[in-house]
Amino acid sequence: MTPFALEIGVALLMLIVLGAGLIGGDGGRRRTGAITALGLVVLVAAAFTLRPWGSAGGGAFVSDRLARFAKRLFLGSTLIGVLASLSLPGEVFRRRATEYYLLLLSSLLGMMVLASARDLILLFVAFELMSIPLYALAGFRKREPEAVEAALKFFLVGTVSSAVMAYGLSFVYGTAATTALPGVARALEGQPPLLVFGLLAVLAGFGFKIAAFPFHMWVPDTYEAASTPFVAWLSVAPKAAGFVALFRIFLEGVGDQVTLWMPIIAALAAVTIVGGNLMALPQQNVKRLLAYSGIAHIGYMLVGLAAVSASGTAMVLFYLVAYVFANMGAFLVVEVVARSEGTEHLNGFRGLAQRSPLLAVAMLLFLLSLGGIPFVAGFWAKLYVLWAAAEAGLYWLVLLGAILTVVALFYYLVIARRMYIDPPTRPEPIPLAPTMALCVIVCVLGVVVLGLAPSPLVLAALRAASRLF
């Protein structure tokens, strides 16, 4: 099986969608969503059954366990995102559905290549392939001033950080005299200052992508303004891709030099956790709140990264999966409620438990998972990253992270309070589109199953990360 199998699949799907959009006229455009979803179902199935293995381009492209793990994650989350997008309303959206799905798929392709890239050039190109469609998608609702404004901010910050990253890459290349990552890793022996400088610039660039504090600033604005199903996907998939790339650049094959990164990433993790959680506190817009909480979660993943160990990396992978379900689920519930209540304000959730108890329970589960409460996925996620950090001796970071979960719980509980404690403003239940319900159910299942039986995924993550060190 060629290592490119899945990428080829995505490219083919893009062609099919493009064709359907071009040829099928209005009807075809309407069906692009369904086609994309179907195609993704096939691809997800393929990702779990086929074993694309090996490398190409002299090691520039590898399909190892990490890449396969990441690709399953990307495909799965994109599937949920696409399914959720199917219920997006409005003629405006329908007419441009082809573009929407095509952009989504091209970004997906970028991610998948990024996960396999072991060459700086390929990595950079894949990174941009992932990023550029996102700018367009963020401003997809081009008649809305907030959406285009958010797109511009996203774009500006994104390109500047791309530039910083590319600038850093130039030094990496200059010092290591190669663009192949194993070469770079070898060159780190002795820690030449220019190489370190270059890699830090790369870290800053990825900091933007994963939204670490203080590179996070585009996040709340973009999340608030862009359409929610897209945001749900944006909040997980590209971040996962960013982390996988970070593993490749900073950890893979670096050996003992790896401890160089530990204090820096730990510091970055600490400020990200603190900043994200604190800024989430005063938020009244649920999407904005989730945006900041997402930043805090990135901080926790960085804690796992800061452990610079196989288990730490594996725990980040686990965290990403848990986060996919919980965060996407939360955003989707927000979308459902906001569409019914016409507001994304916290007050839209008032009395949800008495209007639509199951939806409220689902949201509660997502929030608990995000808050890191036992018996749902998020608990294990947080526990594992903190545990990895403890193993690495970063007890202060563990304590800080654990204490700030308390701050995080404050704002999650504020939502829970709106849903459960406050009386409803209207009695009737919230309408729920079938595809949306399916997505929410999938997310709930993910959160609960991972919460009750984390072991298989932990093992898979450990296997995926085992080759990095």
Binding site: L120, I121, F124, V125, E128, I132, Y135, A136, G139, K142, R143, E144, P145, E146, V148, E149, A150, A151, L152, K153, F155, L156, T159, V160, S162, A163, V164, A166, Y167, L169, S170, F171, Y173, G174, A177, T178, T179, P220, D221, E224, A225, P282, R288
Partner: protein
């Protein structure tokens, strides 16, 4: 002229670009700043390619140029979209979303 001068030149260009990005009011001006920053990267790559005697840097520079074009295209499109709804491309006025 050694490698050092090229790198310094690139750094200067990069800094000028960044300065432009952070200070220009007009969105198009900001795009130009970004263009400068990416070109600084290209200078570096080419210089390093020469210094390292490997072709990879050149290739990288080519890719960077292509990507720059794509980015700027998307950027301009967004700027036009903004101009349509807001009738301004002044970056200072674009603060509907904050906090």
């Amino acid at each position: 002229m050694g490698l050092r001068m090229y790198v310094l030149l690139a750094a200067a260009v990069f800094a000028i670009g960044l300065f432009g990005v952070t200070t220009r009011r007009n969105a198009v001006g900001i795009l130009l700043g970004i263009e400068l920053m990416l070109n600084a990267v290209n200078i570096n790559f080419v210089a390093f390619a020469r210094y390292n005697a490997s072709v990879a840097g050149m290739v990288f520079a080519l890719f960077t140029i292509a990507i720059t074009v794509a980015e700027i295209a998307v950027g301009l499109a967004i700027v036009i979209a903004i101009f349509r709804v807001r009738k301004t491309v002044d970056a200072d006025h674009l603060d509907l979303l904050k906090g």
